[in-house]
Structure formats: C-alpha cells, structure tokens
C-alpha cells in the first residue's frame, strides 16, 4: 500500500521566546522489505538557524533544529510518500513464555536491537505492580511468548476505553490505567509496563495510521492524530513484533512507522521547547491518504 502523509504541528508562545532548540522525530523510517520511503521532507517555520540530521541510539532519524532569535510561533510540517509492504507472515516461532528468560540471558549484547534495553524501567514507564498483576491474569503458563503478547493486548483493549479527551501527553500511565481510559500513548505505555512486568521486553513505536479505512471497514481509533503502538520481543528466532493495543491488532499495512524507543520520551515527535516565560500551545493535523485503490 502506498501512502501520502501530511502533518503539521503548530506551536504558539504566550510571550515571545528566547533561543530555541528542538529535536524532531517526524519522518517515516526505512525498513527493508517492510517500509520504503519514496520521498520525505521536514519543513520548519521560521527557517531554523541551524539544522542537523542525526541517527539516534535506536536508529531513528532525529533532526536537531536551532533558532538563535525569539519567535512567537514555530511550526513543523512533513510531506512524505511511503510504501508499506506486507512483512513476513506471523507464524508463531516464539518460545514458551516460561523459557523466554533463558533466551534473554543468552543475548549478550548492548546493540540497539538487544532486548535488554526494553526490560527495565524507563523514564515514562517504571515498574507498576497493578499492570504486572493485570498481565499475569491475562496469560496462562502454557502460552507461547507471542500468544502472551497478544493476550495482554486483547485484555487491555477489552478493559480500556479510548477517550481522546481523557488524558494529556503528561498524564502518567498509572493514572490512565486506574481510570481505564486514555489515548494511544496511554494504551502503549500500559501495555509496555504490563509486558515488562511478566518478563517480556517491550518498547514504544511512534508513527501514523491510515486516516481513511478501506471500503466497508470502520475508521480506526486515533487516525486523526499521530499514533503509537507497542513492539515486543518474542524470542531470538522471531525477534521483535509490533502490536497495537488501541485497535487490538498486530501492526500491518495500515501502519507507517517513524521510530521506536523504550517509551515516548525516546521518540517524542518534538522534544524541547523555546526558553520562554509564558506557556505554549500546540495544534496538530494529520492526513494519511492511501494512494492505491
């Protein structure tokens, strides 16, 4: 499936800001055989005084943008053409959950793909006993790792209500979980904490979802904004798989990935703000238009 992606995020500042520095992660990434980027560009307004494009630890492309002078407003927009292919078939080759730990120990590496980065606490997802207990209830000892991941995702989707108004980007996952509602970011963080709680390495994926559903299918939740889902480690052979707890499905051709990290803080679309006395406001618009019919 080919897509045209249009996104704009506008920030306005109450009182004019001093120098600004942002790290922006908005461009779709290239995944051989899965996601091919035909064209992608990022435009920041006003034109930044400095611009550097780096690859971060997890392999995401990160644009460092710097403004030397005060600006009352900044806007980021992207335009991209991406082809999303059907990846390998989801044949379950994962180990039984009970023996995942052995494979984990055998993986002696600090490489960005190593599962070890995704098991301990991360800035936005510390250990949360309520989510661990929830995950334990959702799985059985006979589950394979893949089945366990799916079971936790299903259970969360059953339990949690999608509510675009209920939480903000700063709401801690524990609060969203307690109230059993939230947006895709909350769903993802809660699932990450739940999976880590039962020993499954899990991370956060940032990206887009197609805005217009295929004919006869319902519109997906969260399609009018940027989206987030989960990647989980299903053992040495299967590696990383991606699951979307908000829509209760594995991430297929409806999903366009930007990047991943341990949680939101590693792949936030726009990091950093202007040095400014007052508050700021932001507005986001996204369109992900399928080009094939």
């Amino acid at each position: 499936m080919r897509y045209e992606i249009q996104l704009t995020i506008d920030y306005t500042y109450e009182s004019g800001s001093d120098r600004g520095r942002n790290i922006v992660r908005l461009l779709p990434c290239f995944i051989p055989g899965v996601q091919h980027v035909e064209q992608a560009r990022l435009i920041a307004t006003p034109f930044p005084d400095e611009e550097r494009h780096l690859i971060d630890f997890f392999g995401n492309s990160a644009s460092h943008l710097v403004w030397h002078n005060p600006t009352p407003a900044v806007s980021f927009s992207i335009e991209a053409y991406v082809e999303r292919l059907q990846g390998d078939s989801m044949h379950d080759m994962s180990p039984p959950l009970v023996s995942l730990h052995k494979e984990l120990i055998a993986s002696r590496s600090l490489h960005p793909e190593s599962p070890h980065h995704f098991l301990g606490p991360s800035p936005r997802t510390g250990p949360m006993s309520a989510m661990t207990a929830f995950a334990k209830d959702a799985i059985t000892t006979s589950h394979s790792t893949l089945e366990a991941i799916e079971a936790v995702g299903h259970a969360l989707h059953r339990e949690m209500k999608f509510d675009a108004e209920a939480t903000t980007v700063e709401t801690p996952p524990s609060e969203a979980f307690e109230k059993r509602h939230g947006v895709c970011q909350d769903f993802a963080h809660i699932m990450i904490a739940a999976l880590r709680g039962v020993g499954i390495p899990a991370g956060y994926v940032s990206g887009f979802l197609r805005t217009f559903p295929p004919p006869g299918k319902p519109r997906l939740e969260g399609a009018d904004a940027m989206h987030a889902w989960v990647r989980a480690w299903a053992g040495q052979t299967m590696g990383w798989i991606e699951f979307d707890p908000t829509n209760d499905q594995f991430a297929g051709t409806d999903y366009i990935k930007i990047g991943h990290g341990r949680d939101y803080s590693d792949v936030a679309p726009v990091l950093g703000a202007m040095r400014s006395a007052g508050g700021h406001d932001s507005v986001q618009t996204v369109d992900v238009i399928p080009l094939d019919h």
Partner: protein, 806 residues
Amino acid sequence: MSQDINTDGLREDLFGSYRVTPGVADELFDAKGNMRPVWARFVHRFQHLSTYEIRTRFERGDQYLRDAGVFFRQYSTAPLQERAWPLSHLPVILHETEWTTICAGLSQRADLLEQVMADLYGAGQLVSGNHLPAELIAGSHHWLRPMVGVTPRGGHYLHYLAFEIGRAPDGRWFVLGDRTQAPSGAGFALENRMATGRIFPERFPRAHMHKLSNFLNAFREQIESLAQGAGGSPAQPALLTPGPSNEAYYEHTYIARYLGIPLLEGEDLLVEGGRAMVRTIDGPKPLGALWRRIDASFADPLELDAQSHIGTPGLMEAVRQGNLSMVNALGSGILEMRAMMAFLPRISEVLTGAPLALPNIATWWCGGAPQRDYVRKNADRMMIGSAFAVDLPFDLDATTALGGEFRDGAQRPIADWLEEEGASLVGQEAVTLSTTPAWEEGAQGDHLVARPMTVRIFATRTAQGWQFMPGGYARIGRSPDATALGMQRGGSVADVWVVSDKPLDQKSEPKRPHRRFRRPEDSLLPARAADNLYWMGRYIERSEDALRLFRAYHLRLATTDNPADPRLRQLNQYLKGYGHNLTQAVPDSLIERLEAARGCAAKVRDRFSTDGWNALNDLLSTSQRMSRSAVPGDDAARAMSVLLRKMTGFSGLVHENMYRFSGWRFLSFGRALERADTLASILSYFAGPGAPQGSLDLSVELADSVITHQRRYRVETNRDTVMDLLALDVNNPRALAFLIHRMHELARALPNAERHGRPSQLVRHLLKMETECTICMPEDITPEWMTRVRHNIIAVSDDLTAAYLR
C-alpha cells in the same frame, strides 16, 4: 572486649578510654598493640599539651572554618539549612611509603576504569564477552545511550577521580567505592589542611607533610589544556554547579575561586553552532571544558533527563561535535554502580592480564545462581542492596539488609527477596574498617576514642600519568558503628597527613616552568551573576532606605509620644504603601529585603570576599535578633541606628575593597538606581505642593542631608531649597542629579556602551535624564516632572536588563 595496647608513657586521661577492638585494624596501634612509628613523634608532642591548650587549639581551627565561612548544606531538614563543617581535629597520619603503594594500586585502577568506560561506550566487548551482564548496563540510568559511539575530545573519558578506601583487619587497604561521576571534597580537603594548620602550626609536623597544592596546580593545567579548542582557538574552562541548594555548593565556590575559573550554572550556558558558550554581559563567549559537578543525566534536558532544571539544552550536541571536553565524560556515572565491583577483579585480568593491586570490597551480583546461593548462605555477614545503586557501601538505605536483617525491620525473608529480585541485588561483605583516634568531650573529661574511618583520595590525569592529592580527607564515624560515617548522619571529617621521616625540602618539589607575567584580561562576567549583583545592590539600598524611614518614624514617635501626630500619620501612611507594618519595631518587610539581598549574594559567592559575606550575614542576624526584643519608639530608633552603622560598614567594604570589575559596576548601578527611585518617591510624597507643614524637613532628614541644608542655605527649608539640594545638586550624593550622573558614568564603563560611534540605548537614556537635571530650575519641578523621572528610572532598569542581564 578489647585488645591489649601498650600505653607505656601515654597519659591516662587522654588514652585511658582508647579501645582497640580485636579483629579490627587500628591506625594508631599495630596488631601487637604497639604504637605505629609514624604516629609516635606526633603523639609525643600532643601529650605535652594541657587539655586546656588542646581545647584552645581546636577552637582556633573551628574559628578559622567559621571565619572562612566553610559550611556544608544539610539535606532533608528545614530548607537550605547550613551546618558548620564537622572537622575532626586530629589528623590521620600515613607514611609516604605506604601512600606510594596505595597510589600505585589506584593508578592501575584508574587506567582500568578508563578502559571499561571506553568499552561500554564503544565496542561493548565486555558485555558480548560475558564479563559484564547486559541487563546491568542497559538497566542503569547512568549508562547514557546518546554517548554510545561518541569519542571524547582528546581521547580520554576520565580526568578527575576520587577513591574511597579503607583498611581491612589484615592491615591491607581495599577500595570501597570509585567516584567517577563528579567527585566532591578536594576543596574541603584544602580547608581541612588550613584548619589543622591553625591547630598544629609547628615546624614539626608541618615540614614533614606532603603539600596539597601541587595536585590542584596539576589539575588546573589539565583542564586548561582540555579547554583548548581545535587549532588552539581560545576557549576557557569553567566549573558547572547545580547551584546554591547543593550540599557541596560552598566547595564549588571555593575551588572555582582557587583555580581561577568561572563558576557557572546551567542557565549561564547556551549552545550555538555546536559550541558551548557562556552568556556574559558582553554576549556569548566560548567554553572549551566543563568541570561538571552535576550528574551527567542532568547536563542536558533535551537529550538526557528531561526533568532536569539545572542543565543546558544542547550540551550533549556540543560534546558530540567534539567542541567541549567534560570532566568527566558524560556517562561516567555507570562506573560507580555497586554491581561493577563484582566484575572488576575479573575484568582487570581480562583487559590487563594482571589482578587488581588493590582489591575492592568483595561483591556478588545475585543475578547468577551460584552467587545468589553464596549470598543467601552468608547473609549474616553481608550487606545486601540494590545492584544499580551508586552510593558508597556504608551509605545504607532502608531497603538494605545488613547481617541478615532489613534496616527498616521489614518482615520479608531474605531468601525470598533474593530469589525474586536477585538480578537487581548485590551482596557486599559487611565492612570492617580500621579505627583512628578522635577527640571526645565527656563528663569525666576530654579524651581520645577509636572511631572507624575511610580515606578519600583524589586523582587527576596529567600528561605524565595519574597524580594523586597527598592526603587531606578522611571520614570519621560518629560511633563505633562503621555505617555512621556519612556527614549527613553526623560523622566528621579529618585531615590526612602523608608524612616523611625527614623534613621535606619544599624546594625539591617539582617546579613548574616559569611563565612570563601577563596581566590577565578581566574575567568574563556571566549575565546571571551580573543580574544577582545588580539586584543585590537594589535590595541592599531598599533595606537602607527603609531603615532611614523607620528611624525617622520612631524618633518622632519617641519625641511626640502621640500616634495621632499628623507627620507620624503621614509617615505611617507612606510606609504602609510599601508594605511596612510599623506596629513591629523591626518590620518583617525589612528582614525580607535583607534576606533577598543575601539570597542574591549567595548566588555569586565566588565573586564576594569572605568579609563582605560575613558583614551581610551579621546585618541580617542582628536584625533578626532585634526583631525579637526591640519595642517601638526610642528603643527601635536606636536599633535602626545600629543597623544603619552595620549597613555602612558593609557598604564601606564593598566600596573600599571590591575590585572595580564589571560586577562591581552592576552592584553600584543597582544601589544608585534604587536610591534615585526612593528619593523621587519621597520628594513626590513629602515635598509635593500640598504636603503638610514640617514634611519638607522630613524629606531632608530622610535624605540624610540636614546639616548640608543648614550650611548651604542658612534658612528654613522651603520647596526651592529642598528641590535644589535633593533633586538638582550634582555634589550631593543623595540628590537625583548626582545619582543619575553616577549611573551615566557606570553605564559608560560597561561593554558596548558605544557601538559604531553611537552611544547605547542605556547611555542615551541616561544622558537625556542628566541633561534634564542640569537645565532644570527648582521652580520647574512639578509633580509631573517627578513622575516622569520615576518612569525614566524604570525604563533605565529595563534597558540595562535587556542589554546585559539575559
């Protein structure tokens, strides 16, 4: 139970209570109970002092520390509480031969740590080769992912280290902890040495001790060479502090001043074009090296810990682009992780082919089944705690188990804990530290007691290898319990003397090449420091103005004894408008102003003389004391006079002793501006057209110009004489014209006072005001004229702020 010691020839009153525990090494007595030769001569001399003399000498040391303003910040109690430096007056004495052996071992260890650091942020072979568990590194928030693949400028990660070492029962030294993140204490070591110099000033022992200063000279050279940019472009080093609320802030100010490098906070910096710069009153200036005293993850809220309020966005990028050296490299905190101790002995063999010359505290990571079993079986002689913690072993917290019991008395069996959370736990052999003499004041007289101790050794990289500070710093326990060493727990700190048998010929110490004298440029002034100096000037003046007003009020109250007196009412009403409550003899509002002035001074202590700082503190504490006792009327008036004299003392110190660098100009500008504003306000209120009888006299009195007025005009006050003297006279230091002229002069001496042949906006503004005062006649001064002056004063403050203070 205690071991026999040979106390022949020792004074019973001093040594009668000194107990050496069997199975514990002692610094003073060897294993056979005989005094160690390195102590003998010192003890012999010490014994000849009377107890009275000993106390007097100790008091002299404490007095030095108080005068020097040495304190450390105590956490957890009332906000920003400061505590006197807890000096244990007796030194720890070590022989230079033993010291050399220790340093050789630490040198090997420092090189090893550098190699581990390079691997953890480079090839990662220690993990892939199964010498370090991946989960420990990846699970620690001190391992900073943005640093992976970044090679530090100059090639080295570590430049300045500290090691906490202790002596085991068998007499050998071992390492309790590596301090690689931002080791503190070197400044305190210097102060320890200064204080013990007051206590034991004689040629013996002083001539036998190795000096501490060479070490800091070597370190200064190291950071200066690190600061040199590519192609030798000029850039300077600086010290980055978390700010006044940090427990070691005093040390930061002290050592920055000692090394002659600027003391900066995160908001003083910005990163532009991949270079770290200081925001100065003269625009951004490049920095080449930062001796950071903040944890690495706080250094950059953009790429590291987003919660940090003490960092600078972009610092990581300056490091990545190779434009900024960090002492030590960001991410060095990973080496402090407790679990690291479990693997270092093996890593040493793997990387260098040699065992550690100086062992570290025996440590087992409970993630491995055999180690976990071992810890469980030996739990009664273990400290069990977080594998990821970076505290020293004796800084136990509530979730640490010692000797098979939880510190907080939790009910859970240790075995279950190990089984469930083993991968995040380590067991460390319970420490048995050596004891050393400490002075104890007791009901039965003062005497020496044996207390546990650890020694902290500082190391700096030099072109010739690692160099160590010879002594200076030991921690002494408050009780025989080895876990009561931390200062936050009431432990104390002692000087460490590394001594030679013969007097050291100080001349034979390595001499540095003599550099040709060059008068240095004015050091750069960070905008934030200038801002604090400016506001300190304003708050000081605001306090002084209030003091004068209060004195006038209470004098009048004392002479009329009639609160309904119209002039008293007028004064009262005026003061109320500024938030002063005159039912209090020393209003809270005055103390708040002085506190604000002190708060500003505290942020620029590195630029402030100790005398000035003490004078300011004295002013504040005197007013606090007076506020508890003074009563309105005559008593309060006298109190105000005392405070005014103290205020004048402080101003004199600033005026007579402070070097005329830019900082002084901002301080003076603040005072002049505030004084002008108060004066304009007083003239508007008390010398306006409708002011009641006698209020003209009052304004002259408030401006401290009564005698001048009598001498110059020889008539009763009238509006014209008052306006002439207090508004338009350029020779009266308490006249608007004088103050505006003063601000004008100061503004002209600031950087960029003129650009492209044109005066700056600030200078233009002041020039206009000055001219207006010059051409104005007393009768021209209307209330509107005065209002315009006050508006202009505010505008001048805004100009100054916009041009220099952000």
